[in-house]
Symmetry: C2
Subunit: 244 residues, 2 copies
């Protein structure tokens, strides 16, 4: 009788993966001053009827980024967005579709972080209302480990805002300084800085252009419309400048 093979060949011991991309899509409702996350109600098992981050499995010939953009485009129409990779989650057992004997396919999630303009975003809801904005502090239980991913993204948003000009990705092309301030307050909390100090620091960076055009938002003195000067920012790209 033959003895049990001591070691499998190398390829037999390797895990086979499907790779998913999950997006943490943020936007800021500047009217009600709240941070929103796009969630999707799952229509299929596992976690059927459970809310989750919008995601998809990566297809043949498709890059991770392409998969991220595809998911985004399936759920939402935007004119402009910021997208970057967040983190990869791949512990065995993070997806219930994996067989518990650790044979069979594994599911790895490469998460992406996105920021879109709330006003310009149009949710695509095919018949059933299964895609929706949720306030970041009122998130329901999420499928898989998506609460962990969301939390990771939320921290990235707060950090990134302080040293990188992602705010101008979610603001309209022309904006008042107070709009920028409101955005920062909404994400970082009320007391992150005094308005007039925020103002002068921001202007001193030299990356905003005053269009000269004034707009009146209700009562009070009309505000100047500014425009992000991406040319002026280019040389500062890798510098450690602070936006707070």
């Amino acid at each position: 009788m033959k003895t049990k093979p001591k070691a499998n060949t190398k390829s037999e011991t390797l895990a086979d993966f499907k790779v998913g991309v999950d997006n943490v899509i943020f936007s800021v409702d500047t009217v009600y001053n709240r941070v929103l996350v796009l969630l999707r109600k799952r229509t299929e098992e596992p976690f059927k009827n459970c809310w989750s981050l919008p995601g998809t499995l990566v297809r043949r010939g498709e890059s991770l980024t392409d998969a991220a953009y595809r998911t985004l485009a399936e759920k939402i129409q935007v004119d402009n967005l910021y997208l970057e990779q967040l983190y990869s989650f791949g512990e065995p057992g993070r997806d219930p579709r994996e067989s518990p004997d650790s044979f069979g396919v594994r599911y790895l999630s490469v998460s992406y972080f996105a920021l879109v303009r709330y006003e310009a975003a149009r949710i695509i809801n095919k018949a059933n209302y299964s895609v929706s904005w949720y306030k970041v502090n009122e998130i329901p239980n999420l499928a898989f480990d998506h609460d962990k991913i969301l939390n990771y993204g939320w921290n990235r948003l707060k950090n990134k805002l302080q040293y990188s000009p992602i705010a101008f990705e979610v603001l309209p092309p022309e904006f008042t300084l107070n709009e920028v301030y409101q955005l920062y307050c909404t994400i970082l909390g009320e007391n992150f800085s005094d308005y007039s100090n925020f103002r002068s620091r921001l202007l001193k960076l030299g990356i905003l252009l005053d269009t000269g055009v004034k707009v009146s938002r209700g009562a009070g003195r009309p505000a100047s419309l500014y425009r992000f000067d991406s040319e002026a920012f280019t040389p500062l790209k890798d510098k450690p400048l602070l936006f707070i």
Copy 2:
């Protein structure tokens, strides 16, 4: 005659992945003041005889982090190390083993960033000298997209050093303030800060304990040995403190 099927079933269009883990392992030679990266000469195709980052393919039941630790343990013996995930690279075609028709298996690399103590690290060289430290500014051509990964890790190291106490992971348990300074200079460049200012800033953080023990390194006044106070650091963990 049957027409060609319009759409494949969902699972047929999905890419199948093997997931690799590639480590960017840094250490600092405090004697010669240089930053080193651990490279491994490949003994198998593809890129046979080419230098590469130490990596491995993830096995069944193995987490990404475990795979990273396993690779590390295969190449090097260390007493202490810092490890964190870096980035995931997964464009189709990044590994020549993939078939060009975009069918067949894809190779995704989840990269990890590690920092080890040079003096305590012992390279494991099984017979052939295929694992070696390379100065970070004298890196040969690397296999796959490993030059991109290495560059990503190098930037992470320089950034992380400025707001997180990873330096104390690569220093011996007891060290002089000048040794910390040398380490920072080696990684960030000569003129990142004045020694005496660096010194007082570091001490003001309150995370170093003076052991009172003095050591003499050649000529000059003996220096105090300090010890990292991880307890004092714990409450500061999530604060945005600066170490420069």
